[in-house]
Amino acid sequence: MTADAGLPAQAPAARGDAHRAGSAAQVLTARDAGLVACTGCGRVYRATQARCRRCGARLSSRDETSLQRVWAWWLAGLIAYIPANLYPMLKTTTMGHELSSTIVGGVIELIDYQSYSVAVIVFTASVVIPICKFIAIAFLAYSVQFRRGRGRGGLARQHLYEMVEFIGRWSMIDVFVVAILSSLVQFQFVASIHPGIAAVSFALSVAFTMLSAQSFDSRLIWDADEAEDT
């Protein structure tokens, strides 16, 4: 997904060097060369080209609204994450007892029942990963926006970004469990499980953070890197 990938002929060695050295100092970017790559199919055009002739995608050397969208989705995700933690995730009705538990409450309950492994899984999937994602995305966007990255952090940030994108979908595991439980455990009076408000807002939060990560134009990482170098 890097902008350089679209570069057909020029300085393959330099590219290799850049990777090896962990620095983009000597790399000639497409933008510098007056070129723009289609993010859809990878075809390279002159910078004046507005649309990809092959796939019809809009071409832009850098997505100028990227950071805005990142921040917007990030904020939406964060907002959705608050009720996800405050409201009950599951409403369990057993023998007339209605028990509603929030995410953290559920984790504590699991610990009470000494199901430590499950508690760790739930805690990781529902608390640690989302929070780490928020921090990671915020860090990436912040570092790009204010060009405060470390000189040689470009590659690390690229890895971080890839990881965030990869792991995002797995955060849905929580919502998935709730959905399965509430469709399977329906025994009327004896036991039944219903999703709470938190399940919806948690799903939204995950979706928003995924969109936020997707909105991030990773090419900006390298721009920031270069800007720092110059």
């Binding site: 023998m95 007339g96 909105s215």
Partner: protein, 699 residues
């Protein structure tokens, strides 16, 4: 790429964008998403907050099973809140339950609100709260349907209130003499159908009256009028009357938890409102007797004057005319006429008459009634005291048609009431006697009666278990044996033979003298006589020994504790007779009612136990006493018969001896004594046989 400073002057082909871009142009539309999310979140938060109920505090004595965060607060079985916290009051005396209650019901939580913890409960009337076995306890609340000044502090009840504020019906107060037969939640019956329930009896401020709140459910509460009478329908009642023994048993629930019944015996009552006070009568009969409409809207008051005592006449005593109750006694006051020497006490009795019962219009006025009475008086009607009935000591007033009554007139203008002329009751003496009897009956304490019976039984028992008594039959048998031995002794048996022989010989001798001449035969006669005399003297020598024997027997018989026996028997008989002959015993049927009432009280004390065991023990000992007595006396008649036989024989024998011998007289008197003793024993036996039975029957 653009030159904003020189628009339209040069490089026209470069002018591709507006010279001044609005800062908003760069704002991505995606920003709408967080704004929207924020809006939604805030909306949800606001809704949650606005729907968040109010927090109330309920104090409970104890809150078994109430769990913070789980226990629901329900109203009409719908959850309206949940317990948030369970804590203690500052002095740890009470449990304070904090619950968040739905906002919609908050305005109704005024001072009418009541809360209690619903737990499974098994009572005589059924099982309730069974669902809480599975779901755990919950707090149920109830309140009326009108919003009042909201409160947030409530005092929890120990258990469900008997009357839900929402339940339609009428709450009345019953006044009773004692609250023994009524417990909280006792049913209220109307013609055997359960139509309400009572609360726990409480004492009024003075402690003289027991007040019971009763709740009659709608629509049955419209059966209540001012003419309604309530009575105690608890358990069962036994009454002995002209119709025989009557046993009334209510429902089983009423037997255990007591109950109250009501009925309206006559028409004309006014509808009642909540808070109406009724008297609670002891039973239906009494309630029926009190059915005169004291509440009758229109009563006419007249008066009459009686000379002498009116003891037994009370306010509320009935007024009868031709056997129909037409009113009742209102007030009794006494006044004195005459000088010191001839002072007379007169009783002014006011009589409240219901014209309707007199056959007049319900709205009849005093003149109408007076007109009616005037005609009646002219035809000989006079006010007269009479007995309410034979058994009770109470008096009633009747307007009786008295033949050859002294002319008298109604005094319509007398003050304070128009006066109806009265006559001295012709039953006065009988009444007085009866009254006296009844007074004594009234004065009789059934406990004393029972006490007497018990003590009599105890006497019988101690008498029966008396060792001497047990030994009587044995001693008498011994005596008999000795007597028989005596009678059968050869000496006695031989006596008549010898005597006869002598007589024969004498006759022969005389015959021979007649035949043969006197002198010649005289010698031989004398010889024979000598022989006979010798024989007789031989026999006579034996006689003192015999007499000695008999004397010993007599002494023995005298020594027997017969006198004691007879004394005790007499004493017993006297006490038994006293018991049987007392007015108390004769009045037993009447007293039985009282006794049965006491029994009922006794039965109600049965829960505490012991009484039955004691009674059983007492009865058992009485029975065993009677049995041992019967065993002991079973042989007595036989013994008596034998004694009689013996005496007859002895008399026959002794008669042969002649009239004047000492032996004869002594033996006879001895034997008569024995027979008298035997007869007394027989009499005793019969009395004893009779009296324990009557005692037992009496009890």
């Amino acid at each position: 790429m653009t030159d904003p400073s020189t628009p339209g002057i040069g490089a026209a082909e470069m002018q591709v964008q507006a010279p001044k871009r609005s800062p908003w142009r760069n704002v991505s539309i995606v920003w709408l998403i967080p704004v929207l999310a924020l809006a939604v979140s805030l909306a949800v938060a606001w809704r949650t907050f606005s729907e968040r109920g109010i927090l109330i505090r309920i104090d409970f004595e104890n809150a078994a099973g109430v769990t913070a965060g789980e226990t629901a607060v329900r109203y009409r079985d719908v959850a309206i809140g949940v317990v948030e916290k369970v804590g203690f009051s500052s002095d740890l005396a009470r449990v304070v339950v904090s619950a968040r209650i739905d906002k919609t019901v908050a305005p109704f939580l005024d001072d009418s609100a009541q809360f209690w913890v619903v737990q499974p409960k098994v009572t005589a009337e059924g099982v309730s709260g069974l669902s809480t076995v599975l779901s755990g306890v919950y707090i149920e609340g109830t309140w009326d349907k009108t919003p009042g000044a909201p409160q947030d502090q409530f005092k929890g009840l120990e258990e469900q209130p008997l009357v839900d504020p929402n339940e339609k019906g009428t709450r009345v107060t019953l006044r009773a003499g004692d609250g023994q037969a009524i417990t909280g939640g006792s049913p209220v019956f109307y013609r055997g159908v359960r139509v309400g329930r009572t609360e726990t009896p409480r004492l009024d401020a003075s402690g003289a009256v027991v007040l019971v709140e009763a709740f009659i459910e709608a629509p049955h509460d419209r059966l209540l009028t001012t003419a309604t009478r309530f009575w105690n329908a608890s358990g069962f009642s036994v009454s002995l009357g002209a119709g025989g023994l009557k046993l009334d048993v209510g429902s089983l629930a009423a037997l255990i938890s007591g109950g109250v019944a009501f009925n309206t015996f006559f028409t004309g009552g006014q509808p009642v409102k909540t808070g109406q006070v009724y008297d609670l009568y002891d039973d239906e009969t009494v309630a029926r007797e009190n059915a005169f409409s004291r509440v009758s809207s229109n009563t006419i008051t007249v008066g009459t004057v009686f000379v002498g005592g009116v003891s037994g006449l009370t306010t509320g005593s009935a007024l009868f005319y031709k056997g129909v109750k037409i009113g009742e006694v209102g007030a009794i006051s006494a006044f004195v006429t005459g000088e010191d020497r001839q002072m007379e006490v007169h009783q002014l009795v006011s009589l409240d008459i219901d014209p309707k019962l007199l056959g007049l219009q319900a709205s009849a006025t005093l003149p109408d009634v007076l007109e009616f009475l005037e005609a009646a008086v002219a035809s000989g009607v006079r006010a007269r005291l009479t007995k309410a009935n034979l058994l009770s000591g109470s008096l009633i007033v009747e307007f009786a048609e008295v033949e050859d009554a002294k002319p008298a007139e109604l005094e319509p203008d007398a003050k304070p009431y128009p006066l109806v002329p009265s006559v001295e009751s012709d039953l006065q003496d009988v009444n007085a006697t009866l009254e006296g009897v009844m007074k004594r009956v009234n004065a009789l304490k059934i406990e004393d009666l029972i006490q007497q019976a018990i003590s009599t039984l105890a006497t019988v028992e101690s008498f029966a278990s008396n060792k001497e008594l047990r030994e009587v039959p044995k001693s008498v048998v011994e005596l008999l044996d000795k007597t028989r031995d005596l009678v059968a002794s050869e000496d006695i048996q031989a006596l008549p033979g010898d005597l006869r022989q002598t007589v024969e010989e004498l006759r022969d001798t005389i015959a021979q003298i007649r035949q043969d001449g006197v002198v010649a035969r005289l010698v031989s006669v004398l010889e024979s006589a000598d022989v006979a005399m010798a024989n007789i003297s031989l026999a006579s020598q034996e006689v003192p020994a015999l007499v000695e024997d008999v004397r010993a027997v007599a002494a023995k018989a005298r020594d027997l504790p017969l006198q004691d026996l007879v004394d005790s028997a007499t004493g017993l008989l006297q006490s038994a007779d006293a018991l049987i002959d007392t007015d108390a015993a004769r009045a037993l049927p009447a007293s039985l009612n009282a006794s049965l009432d006491e029994m009922r009280i006794l039965l109600s004390e049965l829960r505490e136990g012991g009484a039955v065991a004691n009674t059983n023990a007492a009865l058992a000992s009485a029975r065993s006493a009677t049995e041992s007595l019967e065993r002991a006396t079973a042989n007595l008649p036989q013994l008596t018969a034998r004694l009689d036989q013996l005496v007859a024989r002895a008399e026959g024998l002794v008669a042969a001896y002649g009239d004047r011998s000492d032996f004869n007289a002594e033996t006879l008197s001895m034997l008569r004594e024995v027979r008298a003793a035997a007869r007394s024993i027989t009499a005793l036996t019969r009395s004893i046989e009779r009296s324990p039975n009557s005692l037992l029957f009496g009890k």
